[in-house]
């Protein structure tokens, strides 16, 4: 750690309420120069709200915030949010250059723009810098977009850079390169970095100090990370013990094949009540998921199941066949943001059961589901935006709970979700499988797949199926090897 401890951000007793809900009840937060600072806390603890107040997105109710710079300029903070914030119709180079002072001039030479973009991108991903500079942001994959955003934030010369779960979409190699760049930036320019993540391993790898927020209050204020054990951290976050036992599995009947996934060169039989994990970069798993949820126009994958077509031709048909789908991309593929929780929860049931009227009894139905999921909500008539990320994810699962499905597809359901909620989601996945539903689950976190799945189908970065691991063969290194992704 640098000897110079100039506080770049100093937040004292910050308070904020939304309506009657007090989100921040006295948060303290200090980021010093030359520090990589882990900001920890469960979903709904108030991390995002605090970041949004510091960066001026929303107004505080009370408390003090002072920002300072090590140079003579205005203090500057760059944030990489969890959700992508690129301008879809501009090129990658334009997206990066737009935050640079040079762009404030009326005319920016295209070559100058490309230079800025190239310099920024090549810090993290030289390959992308060479190939993607002139592509439209809308054409980037989730994961490329994330890299562009990080590169943009790093290149602005900000005094503090805040990264909200930046590694969620990155491969092991990219994560490593990102960490190296962050460390170099800190030592060379003495800036401050705030890192929000739910992955303990990465936090240990990268950060110097940590602040823990719980229920809108600071419980640990800038403590050196080496003084805290994982168990202590989880305890301070108010999470149930991370090693909480997940209920034991029911026995699976090995003769009871529910469906067969047929790939280009393989056929994977999946038993009723089995959890099949899909591991690896998006290319392969996304094809299987598109096949199952009915969004694939054509597919190299097909399925074989009693009474089912080779592939559902629309999500509607998929829902009617009894296929549930839960995406971790809550904003664009999950939540109906303008509709109250009740409509969000019941939408798929109304479609599947062909309900014509919105019945009064649906209130109780929704309330039961919400309670069964331990979903923290003020009222089922509130908008989903009043929920934390983890609770929004539970809401998406509530849509399919107890619905006599034959298959549920999970697409990164634990993205941006804290440890406590992750455990809840694992339990729900188990519960669905135990009820006889087939679960097909894609995750980029190999560890959780290894813990919960019965079998794992591994894909390499080109989308080729590389192998089917039985639970007896489960092994972190073997899986990382097959997929080229970090555990």
């Amino acid at each position: 750690m640098a000897a110079d401890k100039l506080p770049l951000i100093s937040v004292r007793n910050l308070q904020k309420s939304f309506g009657v809900t007090k989100v921040l009840r006295g948060v303290n937060f200090t980021v010093s120069a030359g520090q990589i600072h882990a900001l920890l806390g469960g979903n709904g603890a108030g991390k995002s709200t605090m970041i949004r107040i510091i960066t001026g997105g929303i107004r505080k109710d009370d408390g003090e915030i002072s920002l300072s710079s090590q140079r003579d300029t205005e203090p500057k903070i760059a944030v990489v949010h969890q959700e992508l914030a690129l301008l879809a119709d501009l090129s990658v180079a334009e997206n990066i250059a737009i935050v640079h002072a040079a762009s404030a001039r009326s005319f920016v030479h295209a070559r100058k723009r490309a230079e800025i973009g190239y310099k920024a991108l090549s810090l993290i991903d030289p390959h992308l810098a060479n190939t993607a500079l002139h592509r439209r942001a809308a054409d980037l994959s989730m994961h490329e977009g994330q890299i562009v955003e990080i590169a943009r934030a790093l290149s602005t010369g900000a005094d503090v850079i805040m990264l909200d779960e930046p590694t969620a979409n990155l491969t092991a190699g990219e994560t490593e390169r990102l960490f190296a760049v962050l460390r170099r930036l800190v030592t060379e320019t003495n800036i401050g970095i705030v890192f929000v993540s739910h992955r303990m391993k990465e936090i240990r790898q990268l950060c110097d100090v940590c602040t823990i927020i719980r229920d809108g209050m600071t419980v640990i204020d800038a403590a050196p990370l080496e003084r805290l054990t994982d168990v202590e951290i989880v305890h301070h976050m108010g999470q149930p013990d991370a090693r909480n036992e997940i209920p034991a599995r029911h026995k699976i009947d090995h003769a009871d094949v529910g469906l067969v996934l047929k790939g280009p060169e393989c056929a994977v039989p999946v038993l009723k009540g089995q959890i099949l994990g899909l591991a690896g970069a998006p290319a392969g798993p996304s094809q299987v998921i598109a096949l199952l949820n009915g969004t694939a126009r054509s597919s190299t994958w097909g399925l074989e199941a009693e009474g089912w077509p080779e592939r559902p031709t629309s999500p509607r048909q998929a829902v009617e066949l009894g296929i549930g789908y839960v995406s971790g991309d809550r904003r664009s593929k999950g939540v109906l943001a303008q509709l109250p929780i009740i409509d969000n929860v019941l939408a798929s049931r109304r479609v599947r059961e062909g309900r014509v009227f919105v019945r009064r009894s649906e209130r109780t139905e929704c309330l039961d589901l919400v309670q069964a999921l331990k979903l923290k909500a003020g009222s089922i008539l509130d908008l989903p935006s009043t929920l934390s990320g983890g609770n929004q994810q539970k809401l998406l699962i509530a849509r399919w709970l107890g619905m006599s499905l034959r298959l549920v597809v999970f697409e990164e359901p634990t993205r941006g979700v804290d440890i406590g909620t992750k455990r809840d989601i694992y339990e729900l996945i188990r519960r669905m499988a135990d009820a006889g539903t087939i679960v097909i689950w894609w995750s980029t976190e190999n560890v959780e797949l290894l813990e919960l799945c019965d079998e794992i189908l591994a894909f390499d970065t080109d989308g080729q199926a590389k192998g089917l691991l039985q639970s007896s063969q489960f092994n972190e290194d073997a899986l990382a090897d097959l997929t080229g992704m970090a555990a």
């Binding site: 209050m217 204020d221 969004t295 509607r316 593929k333 509709l339 409509d343 919105v358 309330l367 309670q371």
Partner: protein, 330 residues
Amino acid sequence: MNTKARSMTSNDKNSPTPRAPSVLLAYRSELAIAMACVALLVGVGIFVPAALSSGNFANILQASAPLVIMSLGVLVVIITGGIDLSVGSIFSLTGMVTALAMANGFGDVTASLLGLGVGIVFGSINGVLITLVGLAPFVVTLITYAVAASLAFIVTNGRSLGVDSSDYWLLNSGELLPGIPNFVVFCLVFTVVLEFVLRKITAGRWFYSVGSSPMAAYLLGIPVKRTRFAAYVISGTMASFAGLLTVSYILNAEATAGASLMLQAIAAVVIGGASLAGGTGSAVGAVLGALMITIIQNGVNLIGINSFWQGSVTGLAILVAVLIDRFSHR
């Protein structure tokens, strides 16, 4: 740096308490618009006491009826996140087609159905081009707006057409329910039915779902294309019906009759609390928005301000409405 651990004082708040949904709470923004309407009326009444006479109230209702009905149709489109610029032209063309059919010996009912056909056909064209071809609603309805507007001139070469039928006025001003003119009944029935559909029918919730997040709605099995298509057909048909009411009232059809109505209808929907981004809005709100616009026009006339000011005052009302909406949600 010291490690400070603070004791936790919060209670466990796991159980979501179901708040009793009161009607007042559910309609609070509509209530605000209604109060604004009353305030406007009283304001005008200070200058011109006659504004508060029952005769003037009847005037306002009669004048607002076509706009109310058209706004209800436009509302459905706006809830789905779309826009319908063609309603004004459909309104005009409907009048021309109906009057022309009557002049050519068709009965009242047949002529009216032909008129309604204009809205159904143009609404369907909008719907097909938007959902199946995938063109932007703004562009598609700009095209049908232009085409329908020019057809309204073409059918009579620009002449206005009188309606000779002796009974046709009954559609608008007859009293199926004794004491209440039909146009009021139509407005009430359409409002209540649409409000019911939007709130209590699954397919009605789909309009909001599609407007809120088309991708999420699609993945949930909601028929996004059919829902969108239905919205444009409803909008076109309602615009046609509004056209019929107006012809029945003034017994005359003119090619430019609906020229100013499209923007007024969109304004009414926005004043009524809907967002042009889709996913929000209510029938009651849209009706109140239409009433407010009519009250403003009526007030400007009564006070004797140059009627060219109407647009400015309406613009100001929209600004106030969206500002209130914006700050009440923060």
